[in-house]
Symmetry: C2
Subunit: 155 residues, 2 copies
DNA sequence: AAAATTTATTATGCATGCATAATAAATTTT
DNA sequence: AAAATTTATTATGCATGCATAATAAATTTT
């Protein structure tokens, strides 16, 4: 269909979504990453921060920084986890809850509009291809061999 | 197929590809962004830097920073464009050409392996869905309405 | 139970994308 | 042709993702 690579199409599409999400989030004073984090926090109970990383596909170290700035902005509070002296529980403030709702609207709208413009079959296939790509990468099907070959030259 | 949103799947997949590309690039001392830039530079003639942004889907301002660091690392040289006193022509150094080849290998391998694991029909459909998403965003089908509604509340 | 290991968190540095502001060189208007 | 506008570039600041290193608290080994 196109003369572009798979990685390019993925990148361009994701960046276009990210740009849109960030523009939207700016309207209510947050960012895309903050929105995703808010959506991963349970609005009712304390959320262990350990659960956020896996849920969001982010490293704990990246999250730590975002949580810090979210706390400074009054979106969340962090309390020690009584069940684990190393851990932290995250709570939404009322302000955070409000922004969570705003963020949710944007995500729901995006997903809704895309679903209106793509058949269910196409969408299932779309998910399937992404799963295939993820699988190939996590099973090292793509780069291990390449890495081995190259490493000998360079180290 | 999954209980995840379209944006989440896209993000997770792109990030997984990006992580893999960055790991690969690290093996030969570059990064994914540097590799993409190298691949967008014509290895034979001077490439006007204006042409890179659109080709890579990046803002000129983002590119400027990458080009600067690439020049410092000896991957490229920047010369004034004789045809436009504002502009710059980018040339690959021999070192840059070498890294361009390395980068090309990684991209080719990724695309090849994915194509081996996905039918042509699935791939075409995959591209089509991404085009649809891009189209919806660039035509403001997703956020304009939302923005209008929300802006009244906030400003 | 003491020692070794693992896990959760934070701080920092680097890379990179965006936005904004500044500057200089085209280009278009008047 | 002079003035106004647009375009290409760069510098900076902010956000965010990763990696690495440090620290403290579990957990597992011995």
């Amino acid at each position: 269909m196109k003369d572009i690579t798979i990685d390019y199409a993925l990148r361009a599409t994701w960046q276009s979504v990210a740009r849109m999400y960030n523009e939207e989030a700016k309207n209510f004073g947050t960012t895309m990453a903050v929105g995703f984090t808010l959506l991963s926090i349970d609005p009712k109970t304390g959320t262990p921060s350990t659960s956020l990383g896996p849920k969001m596909g982010m490293e704990a170290t990246s999250l730590s920084r975002i949580l810090k700035s979210m706390e400074e902005k009054g979106l969340i509070t962090r309390k020690p986890n009584p069940e684990d002296g190393r851990g932290v529980l995250i709570y939404l403030t009322p302000f955070g809850l409000e922004k969570r709702e705003d963020s949710k609207d944007v995500v729901l709208r995006f997903n809704e509009v895309v679903r209106q413009n793509v058949s269910e079959e196409e969408l299932n296939n779309f998910f399937k291809v992404m799963e295939t790509i993820n699988g190939l990468i996590s099973e090292k099907k793509i780069y291990t061999r390449n890495t081995k070959l190259n490493n000998n030259h360079h180290q």
